[in-house]
Symmetry: C2
DNA sequence: TCGGCGACATGATGTCCGTCATGGGGCCGC
DNA sequence: GCGGCCCCATGACGGACATCATGTCGCCGA
């Protein structure tokens, strides 16, 4: 018996952590583990670059990844993917180059399966096809909401909405308030809401002073949700 | 023989116009025509309202539909769907209320399939599942691009990008230039690019005077694509 | 014929925020 | 220790655009 898990063992345990694969028959899981590749990344590493050819489907096993469109006038973060989620399915499906880059926000473990096998799964396993469709719809809804929120709104409302959404998705209740265990630079916050670093800084440091949203080493703290929501409510009155 | 086509005949010919169904076996098409419902709308009619329960998948047979999110501070047009495209698949799939309203931009004919049968098709017909996934990915890419374009850019560049995209999707070459056969009010243009009616009007009437983009009764004319592209290129220089 | 309505148009004014500039603190390699 | 670099921070300035106000034109119904 080995103390260090073998590659095959790592892949099998990784497969089990992905919800979309849980429903698959054991023999299919077995077969899949022979096809998949496992990989590790550090914060800042690129999983791929915008424009690269896509020939594998990637699934996040551990950590978080940002999808970023790098246009001449600054970056745009389109989405943040977490554990269990498939990324790049759009590009793989359409045999097109990746429309955006993927960058690790923390230590990340990923699983990739070749396009050919991905298509086989789609056709043979309705469960899997449903999982992919579900993820795509989730993505679409999220993008839709982002688009609606981005309109006209002031910078501070957009940042408030961002952190309320993050709290919803990955917040942990603590005695200090809601904790969002995610390391984001001011630049990344700016990229997420579509503004400049300076504007993001102004808002964040004001909120830090006022105790509305506190930046920690590797997380953010929201002492009171209502005070963040109040920012959104203030548009013209008072 | 009847001069007016029967309901069943209309449905069958409608089914044939939808690309996603072309690949289906004849007996499946036959079966489908028993399940589908056909419906007509006039410009301005709602196919559904934001928040309505979704229990059918809708496919556009004829005409165009805008998907619009109605937030307190003005509308946001998320997408314009045309013939052969499925709309509302997101909501139907997730058993969720519609996240946005659908409004006819012109005379529209639609086909609807109950959710139950939609799911059966998905599981039984890999072709169909692929079609849905393809549409979802197309949508996602489009939203993604919109999001990236909405950033910072000036109003006139955004409108220019909008019309260049429309020209790409539905433009017809004529001796006057590219014609976009689509009736859009200034307010709708504003909703598409996320600005106010007044700003949209200022840009459009200036371009009308300069002959860059002419508004006709039920269409728009772009005499020269390059001149529109030049607007996008002008950002700081000159 | 007149009043009302909706779409288009144009000017005046204020303001949010992007841009530029400058500076401070922490961390690294040399 | 010192220079270089990255991230955070703060001020000054100006421009693009939202907002408000007012006006025109065509159309419809009373």
């Amino acid at each position: 018996m080995t103390l260090v898990p073998t590659r095959a063992e790592r892949i099998q345990s990784a497969l089990r952590t992905i919800p979309m694969f849980r429903g698959l028959a054991p023999e299919v899981q077995q077969q899949l583990s022979g096809l998949a590749t496992i990989r590790d990344y550090q914060r800042g590493d690129y999983l791929w670059h915008e424009g690269d050819d896509s020939d594998v489907l990637t699934l996040i096993v551990r950590g978080r990844v940002k999808i970023v469109r790098e246009v001449e006038a600054g970056d745009v973060i389109l989405e943040i993917f977490g554990e269990g989620e498939p990324v790049g399915s759009i590009a793989v499906y359409n045999y097109m180059p990746y429309p955006a880059s993927a960058v690790a926000l923390e230590t990340v473990t990923s699983l990739t399966i070749p396009r050919r096998d991905y298509f086989e799964l789609l056709d043979r396993q309705p469960e899997f096809a449903r999982g992919i469709i579900r993820e795509l719809t989730r993505l679409t809804v999220a993008l839709t909401r982002k688009l609606a929120e981005a309109r006209g709104q002031r910078v501070d409302t957009r940042i408030a909405q961002l952190f309320l959404a993050l709290a919803e998705r990955m917040g942990k209740e603590t005695k200090e308030g809601v904790e969002i265990p995610l390391q984001l630079s001011r630049q990344e916050i700016a990229d997420l809401v579509g503004t400049t670093m300076e504007s993001a800084i102004r808002v964040m440091s004001r909120w830090g002073r006022e105790g509305i949203l506190v930046t920690r080493e590797k997380s953010f703290i929201i002492p009171a949700r209502e005070r963040l929501k109040a920012v959104i409510a203030d548009r013209d009155d008072a």
